[in-house]
């Protein structure tokens, strides 16, 4: 029974990658029988290569993905170098969870509100310093042709994720001991961080960097809000092709998705090569002597925190702004009529988003727990890197193939497919967030329960699940938040018939009414907080109800005793 359920799990969240990739491959060669294309040809690729601006789009993708990833990495390193385990570190940990909970789309909309030509920054500069902006139709940071704003926003948004990933790594590296050795050898703390910590940390950050660069190269929703339009990044271009009403042009979109897949693979390889060159092949800099600067990490962290927090009041003000002329810093008139007029259509969308998120979170959590339990009991199991594959492949490249596959099964079951796609993409996040807690759990507690006559199921529900409840609840919140943030899966497998706060927020962000956009973005940002707060409150209530025992073995890092969400 256990094995059969595990096989079912594999069918739901592991195997679909294959039809996804095979589907898009066949489609790229013009083989899509459901729409009447049943002979192989290279026309799709020819269309892609002949598309004006395709090389610029590809270069933009490479530039934004690589620059934003390494900018985020540098900022993350600067913050760690400056603040790791010093008197301010507790504040960093405190702020980290809320920063992570801010969805990408809400962050991008907030960023646009701040840096658009008529955004708050321009208003403040204009009002406070008397600078007059002759041309307020172009912006340096929103839809700019060089994707500078997109790159910067992506970098800032990824820093909290990289910071979170760094915590268990640095715990493993025992920085305190390294600091003592370093200073006894005459190295200042900042020199030690650059010469000793950086190479070891970088080598262990490979997977988080893969996830960040893959996301940056293939992101569509974020790029739609902030990215360039003429030409757009490759992911946006492929998305535009997918939306072409002429189904005969689908091979072009599929070929674009393949090109995106190749570009992303190239970027992953590049990240690996950069790491290898910096840490292995050219390591002279590591032992060349005492040199290295202290980066302004505290300032970086302050800016990221301020930006992420500032978007909330800004969105709230916009949602009530009746009249807000440029360059006024505040609206001259407020009104709640936008909330009133939007609410009737908005309420079903929120309910739908929450329902999908809750179902996704529950199912994904059950599957992830099952996968971990199976891993403990069986040598033959799916390795972690296979589980993580959906995090590294562009969503567009899998989803198209999956959409084609659904046409063969049941093309009308939109809800089912959307929920399943959310489960598919949320599973790696939930699974990886439970990885540390499951590995650090002291198995002797279960053995003790079994020796007292409890069945394996009783031992799990009465002992293990209770001891690991905080981590389980956080994993649930992560599942719900990941589901809530899904844009492409909802649109593609929902056939445009299922609306969530995310799809609506992105759709509205390209329009001109910032008030309505602000309402949707605000809710999109608030819902993950609700999920995480629920998880925190529930685990605190449970924690109060019992005395906290020493349930974890000491030596394993990334321990589950931390009460912060382990956002992957």
């Amino acid at each position: 029974m256990f094995r059969a359920t595990y096989l079912l799990l594999i069918c739901i969240v592991i195997i679909p990658t294959l039809p996804g990739i095979i589907g898009v491959m066949l489609s790229s060669f013009s083989y899509i029988p459901p729409v009447g294309l049943d002979s192989l040809s290279l026309q799709g690729y020819a269309d892609v290569l002949n598309w004006p601006g395709i090389s610029t789009s590809s270069l933009l993708t490479l530039f934004t993905a690589l620059t934003s990833t390494y900018l985020a990495l540098t900022i993350c390193f600067a913050i760690l170098q400056n603040l790791w385990r010093n008197k301010h570190w507790k504040r960093v940990e405190l702020v980290l969870s809320p920063l992570l909970a801010v969805p990408h789309v809400a962050f991008a909309i907030g960023f646009a509100f701040l840096f658009a030509p008529t955004g708050l920054t321009t208003r403040v500069i204009s009002t406070l310093f008397g600078v007059e902006f002759d041309d307020i139709s172009t912006s340096w940071l929103v839809h700019d042709p060089y994707a500078i704003g997109l790159t910067l926003a992506l970098a800032l948004k990824e820093v909290p994720f990289l910071l979170l990933m760094s915590i268990p790594i640095l715990q493993q590296l025992e920085i305190e001991k390294l600091s003592k050795v370093g200073s006894s050898l005459g190295y200042s703390p900042s020199q030690l961080w650059i010469k000793v910590v950086l190479p070891q940390w970088l080598a262990k950050m490979r997977f988080p960097l893969f996830a960040v660069v893959a996301y940056a190269s293939s992101v569509v929703d974020f790029a739609l809000i902030l990215g360039p339009n003429t030409p757009p990044t490759l992911a946006m271009l492929v998305w535009q092709w997918f939306n072409d009403p002429d189904l005969q042009l689908l091979p072009r979109a599929a070929s674009g998705a393949i090109l995106l897949f190749i570009l992303t693979s190239f970027l992953l390889l590049l990240v690996l090569l950069i790491e290898k060159f910096a840490t292995h092949y050219f390591k002279r800099w590591q032992y060349s002597g005492r040199a290295g600067i202290s980066l302004p990490g505290a300032s970086f962290f302050g800016i990221i925190t301020l930006l992420s927090i500032a978007i909330f009041p800004l969105m709230l003000i916009w949602s009530y702004a009746q009249r807000w002329r440029f360059p006024d810093i505040m609206p001259s008139r407020f009104s709640d009529r936008f909330w009133e007029s939007e609410w009737p259509s908005f309420l079903p969308i929120i309910s739908q988003s929450i329902a999908i998120a809750l179902i996704t979170a529950m199912v994904t959590l059950c599957l992830a727990v099952l996968a971990h339990e199976y891993r403990i009991k069986n040598k033959l199991h799916i390795p972690g890197y296979v589980v993580a594959i959906p995090m590294l492949i562009p969503q567009l490249s899998i989803l198209f193939g999956l959409q084609i596959a659904t046409l063969y099964v049941s093309s009308e079951s939109y809800y089912l497919w959307v929920i399943w796609s959310h489960i598919f993409f949320a599973f790696p996040f939930v699974y990886l967030s439970l990885d540390g807690p499951w590995k650090s759990y002291n198995q002797n507690y279960t053995r003790a329960a079994l020796s007292l006559g409890k069945s394996p199921l009783q031992a799990f529900f009465m002992v293990k699940s209770r001891l690991l409840l905080p981590s389980i609840l956080y994993a649930w919140a992560i599942g719900a938040s990941v589901s809530l943030a899904q844009y492409l899966p909802t649109l593609i497998l929902g056939g445009g018939r299922i609306a969530t706060v995310t799809t609506e927020a992105v759709a509205l962000s390209s329009g001109f009414d910032r008030r309505v956009t602000a309402i949707y973005a605000l809710w999109q940002a608030l819902l993950p907080f609700v999920f995480f707060t629920t998880a925190i409150l529930a685990s605190r209530l449970q924690h109060k109800a019992r005395v906290k025992p020493a349930i974890y073995q000491e030596s394993v890092p990334n321990d589950a005793t931390s009460r912060k969400p382990r956002h992957p």
């Binding site: 050795v181 006894s184 060349s288």
Partner: protein
């Protein structure tokens, strides 16, 4: 070069001192030993001298190297070398690279590799130069760790129970070798240990025992 601890007292926050004031002078080539039960402040004393005293502690008195007061100098500028219980060789660097890491900045380019290998040759460990720490034995790692520390040209050496994790035979052998090397280097040394067998003959002994400090 002389290390002098003058009326040195450490307190945890504002509680009573961990031990009564220490006054001791250690000359070049001399070894002083600090002994005492767990928790009496031996490692805290070393942390204070090395500049790693955590915020929860405060101290009175002075740590003087010749006439230079180290008490408030940043740790990396004190020239205080430490040999820890663990070898703490950097796992991402091979053995000669670990040694090159400690060399002064004035040694540049290929000279760093040459100097590191020369230092290994002096202690008959040159065959390990291109191995990584995980590939050599615990005893070899301990030796390399001392060589690395000495290459940084410390003016004082602190030994923080460096023999405690070694097995009995290796411990005796390594201990003898360490004192030989330190004697050659002619540096004042302060050793913290639990084991009376570690105490070299004719060394000063500081016995810390809950508020009592005896110097013999």
């Amino acid at each position: 070069m002389t290390l002098r601890l003058e009326n040195l007292v450490i307190r945890k926050q504002s509680s009573t001192p961990l031990f009564s004031p220490i006054n001791i002078t250690i000359d070049s080539g001399e070894v002083a030993v600090v002994m005492g039960p767990s928790g009496c402040g031996k490692s805290t004393l070393l942390n204070l001298i090395a500049g790693h005293l955590s915020d929860e502690f405060n101290f009175e008195g002075r740590v003087l190297l010749q006439d230079n007061d180290l008490s408030y100098q940043p740790a990396h500028l004190r020239h205080v070398g430490i040999l820890f219980q663990d070898d703490l060789l950097f796992p991402h660097l091979n053995i000669w690279q670990n040694l090159a890491f400690a060399l002064p900045n004035s040694v540049k380019g290929i000279q760093r590799e040459n100097r590191a290998i020369e230092a290994l040759r002096k202690v008959s460990l040159e065959q390990l130069a291109y191995s990584y720490p995980e590939q050599i034995s615990g005893g070899q790692r301990a030796r390399v760790s001392l060589v690395r520390m000495l290459l940084a040209e410390p003016l004082v050496v602190l030994l923080d129970e460096p023999f405690s994790k070694l097995d009995k035979d290796l411990r005796i052998q390594f201990r003898q070798w360490v004192f030989e090397q330190l004697s050659k280097a002619n540096i004042p040394t302060l050793l913290v240990t639990h084991d009376e067998g570690d105490v070299p003959i004719h060394s000063q002994l500081v016995q810390l025992d809950w508020n009592i400090t005896n110097v013999r």
